[in-house]
Assembly symmetry: D2
């Protein structure tokens, strides 16, 4: 749930759950500096509970419509992966999907190149090769959107998809596109971050998983991690070692999103 | 608060606070696998509140005496530091104390050597040099206890105090002695952990802050951290770099304790 | 090269390379406290060089036979993977092999269970299922050795192979078996390290890649890494997150070995 | 030594040392992509050696004047610290200096505020309070330079000196001023990096120690480190925890510089 902070919110929610014979086993809340309240409650019920009734009871004691409730029942989310030529993020997700370690159904893979098609084929997942050649950006994005419409995924994962999405495209999946950027944002926004990092002579590289919004590399950050490098690293060496960071950061962010643990708060994320 | 888990604990506590016009701004709870419930609630009141009344109200709605409540009002805790010859943990604490960054009053320093006396003197803190020479362990500990009795500290911090405390001594400060051990426990229990680490050829060293109980290096762990090393590190090099880890881990643990964030659960800690 | 330290070793080696028109681009050396000298030199030659002649020239200027030279020409090493039921280390290696990121030929996978057979099949690698049921340890190991004899691998990688190897088995691949142990050795030697870690209440877990010798979990350590946990982690949670550490540590160690960067020095490793 | 790469450099240097009966115990070299060669050699001599003769012999076998040699004999370097109001970097250096853990003589502290004067006084180090009020930047810098001229330090350490130095000032201590910047550069250049980091919603903060050149926060980076944060961190919380990173990164960089391990290569550093 989230909304403007008010007295008694925790009390009212726990009260409703108590009366519906639900037992809370994990609860976390956060109030932002500007007074926005976020709470995530995990509960269980021995006898079963009626989600509709719980939501109605909550609305009764907390009538303010600005406060939004969401009731997630643990089920897998439908996702589609977009990639280009690099495999490392894609394969990390596919392997975990194949061994049922992700709370997701990977419905399809879409790529502007066909080089990863044989690999994706091993996992029995549809691969859609939509070349960007001889197409305007609009045409290409339209073709991608059309393909996505077949699957109606809840989330898109840009697993090293090396094309910039237009605001028009993004608006179709507002706050539902997860990207991995190969730098420690906001350092090295834009193209070739490892080349930029090499030239700046940094001693640490990183990766950032974030939601995509209209401004390139400016969306809410979900997870980041870093790795030490030294003067011996060429830009290529940084890219090679960076790939390990990228895939682990993307998986971390994806898991948080799939477990309904990420709230978006302006340009930031609250993770409960 | 802590005690056996039961339905409605969160609801009952938040309800009492709500009725006493206290606003919760941070709350965290944990239920152990064997059904023990821990909760820490930070709240504030605009109009002031009566601690006694809150505690009475809580007992009224949660009559089970096994469930314990503690109400901490933010105030500095009295501590005494014990050290031997190494300065790094001691100086880290004294500096932070001098600049009022710790939620503590450092009442005194006790040492079995006098080498750090001039340094401690700079901070205007009493230094008690109690040599262990020509004394039995019992005699030495008795002398230390006697000195501690002057100050009646809430916590003792062993800032690289290189003597093993007897169970008799420890029983005077049960769960109130914080030690820093210079290894990543439970690796390298006992003396000369860096020498042991060197001989084993580890690639990472560490430090562990823990409460002291009757078994050497076996008390509940509060905080740990690690640092990479390589084959070039001699045992002395490991000790040198390890000191940086030690002092930062001890400070981290000390802050958690001083902020009432550490619960002891058997031989483990719950940090809320 | 390695051997007893002596004056002029670096001078003599660089002199021979210079005269053979080889250009050094990376060189690293280490002298152990007991006077053993290790050096690894990467060089290239524009006109080609004769390895035999370089080795002869080296022996001429450094006649001490205790000093050993090895000349590696960059080529892929043959390896066989052993696994049980867990896939994460195996799949990390297979993916990197499939995309030619490893300096190795994965000749085969051997397992005491058949559950990973379909997955390995996707990569076109022979899978040998050798059940340990109804066999003595000797019989089982004999069957495994017989299978390995088909491939004559340079290195065996125990990718979560959950059986203890006898000294007799190990002696066939002395210093050529790489294991991943799911703890930060020497903490939690033996079975169920995550259960042990949970019960001890550690705040950091880890993984250790090491060469296998006759004493369980006591061989020379190649690489280690750690990850923070807290009181909320059950032993199962630690195992789940630990798997990410395990696979990355094993890959790190494997790459070092495949690139001829690991020297064994008693029970320790020197990595140049 | 450093200079344009050429065949036989390592051979020639080791040859000269060998003939001067010096024994190399540590050597590290690096060749930059544009063909610049860096080498650092640690050696010792039982019988003593003549530095002048070694340098002459080196020049004889390597006559190219573009190649520069430096022969450092382990001795303490003179440094002066500049600070403003925050103590943490200053006190970390002073403590280590007081316990003789730094390869440096701290000759004086210069500050544009007098609040740290009593603390510095405890260590018996001259404190120069040079207020910037009622002075132009030129006047203030002139006053600081005049004070520095008393001490003629080899290096200046900006231990959270919160004023921007003019190119004119910097030119007096070219490549000899070490600064600690409270962000993971090049993210958050300029003022208030923690506020910037908070607003961007990063999940990791950092600190950067670098040499100062004419462009603000653009000089060659010596060391960096990072620390995880989450949505609960206010900008103030980030600043508080960031201070721990800052002081440890500054100490790390300072030690590298004091041990002659840092080469400047364009806008980057090579650390051997």
């Amino acid at each position: 749930m989230e909304g403007p902070d008010a007295k008694g919110l925790i009390f009212n929610v726990t009260s409703v759950l108590y009366k519906n014979e639900c037992n809370i086993f994990k609860q976390d809340e956060y109030v932002s500096p500007n007074g926005w309240f976020y709470m995530r409650t995990e509960f269980e019920s021995n006898n079963g509970y009626e989600p509709e009734k719980v939501l109605q009871d909550l609305r009764k004691v907390i009538p303010n419509e600005e406060i939004k409730f969401k009731l997630h029942q643990q089920k897998k989310k439908d996702i589609v992966l977009l990639c280009t030529k690099e495999h490392h993020c894609l394969s990390e997700i596919l392997i975990r999907y194949a061994f049922e370690e992700l709370n997701a159904n990977v419905l399809a893979v879409v790529s502007n190149y066909n080089s990863l098609q044989p690999f994706v084929g091993k996992f029995g997942i549809p691969f859609h090769y939509i070349s960007a050649e001889d197409k305007s950006r609009e045409e290409h994005e339209e073709a991608v959107l059309k393909t996505l419409d077949i699957y109606k995924p809840e989330f898109l994962v840009l697993a090293k998809y090396m094309r910039i999405l237009s605001p028009a495209f993004v608006s179709n999946y507002s706050n539902r596109i997860i990207n991995i950027h190969h730098s420690f944002l906001p350092a090295f926004i834009g193209a070739n971050p490892y080349k930029q990092a090499y030239e700046r002579g940094v001693k640490i590289i990183g990766a950032t998983a974030h939601f995509v919004n209209d401004n390139l590399d400016e969306g809410p950050i979900i997870a980041q991690d870093t790795k030490e490098v030294d003067h011996r690293y060429s830009a290529q060496d940084m890219a090679r070692d960076g790939r390990d960071v990228e895939k682990m950061v993307l998986i971390k962010a994806l898991k948080l999103v799939l477990d309904d643990r990420v709230f978006i708060f302006g340009n930031r994320t609250v993770i409960l």
